[in-house]
Amino acid sequence: MKKLISYIFMDMLKSRIIIAYALFLLMVSLVLFSLDDNPGKSLLSILNIAIIVVPLVSMIFSTIHYYNSYEFLELLLAQPMSRSAILWCEFAALCAALTLAILTGLGIPSLLYFPGTESLWMIVSISLLSLSCAAIALLISIRTRDKARGIGISLLVWFYFSLIFDGLILLILFSFSDYPLEKFTLALIALNPIDLSRVTIMLQLDISALMGYTGALLKSFFGTAYGLAATTFVLILWILVPFSLALKSFRKKDM
């Protein structure tokens, strides 16, 4: 198992996409940190970019990697290994590669320029988001036989979580602004890993005060460790649930 994970992982590193991705993140964070005297503000700008790039790359990379290693998976499946073990290895390697990219690209510069819990939480939260996107991408690619179609669906899902979902929230909040929607808003946020990770990071930054600007519930939620624990927990669910669905599909899949 360990050896298989490290083989798949090394294979990913050698594809250079992961390295290019890590370097891109590194470049962006270094530039943003050096542009602004206030590292807290730079962290926010980095968040703005990471929240677009990380889910996109995580999803597309995971999808493409799955399809490209299809025949290799076939070969592995002819070996005395259970299907779940094989998918676990694939996912573990994906997690390792994506997390490594985030650690080098975002982790090193933020801890260098702005050591503290804010940076730490940003890295943790962005990494969790990245893994969640990888799990969703695996689920999509296992359930979709055709490569082009799989990549297309991944892109659509990314687009949905990045933009359309927030648009829907906006629409709902506006249509029902006469009703008390505080709890509902929080519940809605839990349905989108990108929003969740954004909110988790914001909870760590001063800016969270703005989010609790009105409304006792939001204030109590965003002002406490409980809020942080809750968002992180749901974010982890967003990794575990898609992955276990992916496992379930993979066990029954015809190669």
Binding site: L47, L170, L210
Partner: protein, 425 residues
Amino acid sequence: MIFRLRFNNSSRIAPGSFFILLDLVFIQFPSIASVITVHPQKENNSIHRALEQSVNGDTIMLSPGIYREGNITIDKGICLMGVPGAILDGEMKYEILSISGQHVVVYGLEFRNSGRSGMNDIAAVRCIDASDIMISHNKILNAHFGIHVSNSRHVRIEQNLVEGIPAEEQNTGNGIHLWKSDTAFIWNNEILGHRDGIYFEFVTSSLIQDNISHDNIRYGLHFMFSHHNTYLCNEFRNNGAGVAVMYSNNVSMEQNLFLHNWGPSAYGLLLKDISDSRISNNSFINNTTGIHFEGTNRIQVFHNIFAGNGWAARVQASCSENIFTKNSFTANTFDVGTNGTMTLNLFKNNYWDKYEGYDIDKNGIGDIPYHPVSLYSMIVENDPNCMILLRSILISFLDKAEKAIPSITPENLSDSAPLMKAPAQ
């Protein structure tokens, strides 16, 4: 002699003409004054007794030690002063010092543990119906109200440290509290841990300068119905709700620092029903809202710095004829927020770091107007729940789109001549 020496020291900072008057009042007496020294341990030797013996112009000098004498009332023109280490303890029961009358100096004492009550405003030091009072170089610790002044004139409160132990808002008094007074001068005090750091109600013609008011439960400074006052060069930091100026006119606020008043309903400066005032050369840094304007008219806001605030300024539709010029807006989440299609206020020649225009003729003024109200700030104003979308991709796109083709944000609310560089302060 000691008294006069010290007095000369402090006179170098007296800025207003009425303080010169105050100086003269004190200087009348030294020739006939005597000094009565009190030791806490000696028999038949108490502040009460010294007060009985003293006459106008005398100095009562307290030696180091803890004095537990309940309430002490001064009603004649004497100077009560302490050698460092002289402590008046209220034992959580008494109002420690009550002053009425004229020409009283309280200097160099430490007051601690005043009584507290929900009914009366018990203070460590109270001035009532007094004039020409100086309270200086004292430490007031763990008091309900620190210094409470009512119905008094010419009160000078300087270089004191007033430090409360914050409890709930209703169980904590104000640090320096003035009611129905005029011509007060509050200089160079540090106030923390109280409900309001400095509180003014029905106070006129007074000056608040060089104070630091921080970590108070509610406001660092709170004005109600107080006209013709000035506050200069103060620092208000980390207060629960910042600074509030309400129902007043002709207030001058200059060169103050409003720092990190940060919380769900905190303001750097909250203005409510204020008119004909000026706000200049202040710095509003890292506040949830830099200045909140509500029902304000004819206020000149110029040469201020707004940096790192949630909203630099929120201007409610109830405001008119306010003028914003030569201010610098940088790194604020929202520059200006408003709840209406407000066009009654003027923004001109400000510097906005979000301005993306150009200056072809190189005259330092941008050639296209800047719209400081973003679409998202309108959305949030409409439904605060939308704040949850802060910094999401959707919002960045919406703001960019609105900037390109304005449709919802008030078209007329704009800075027609934005500066290309921040004005020198």
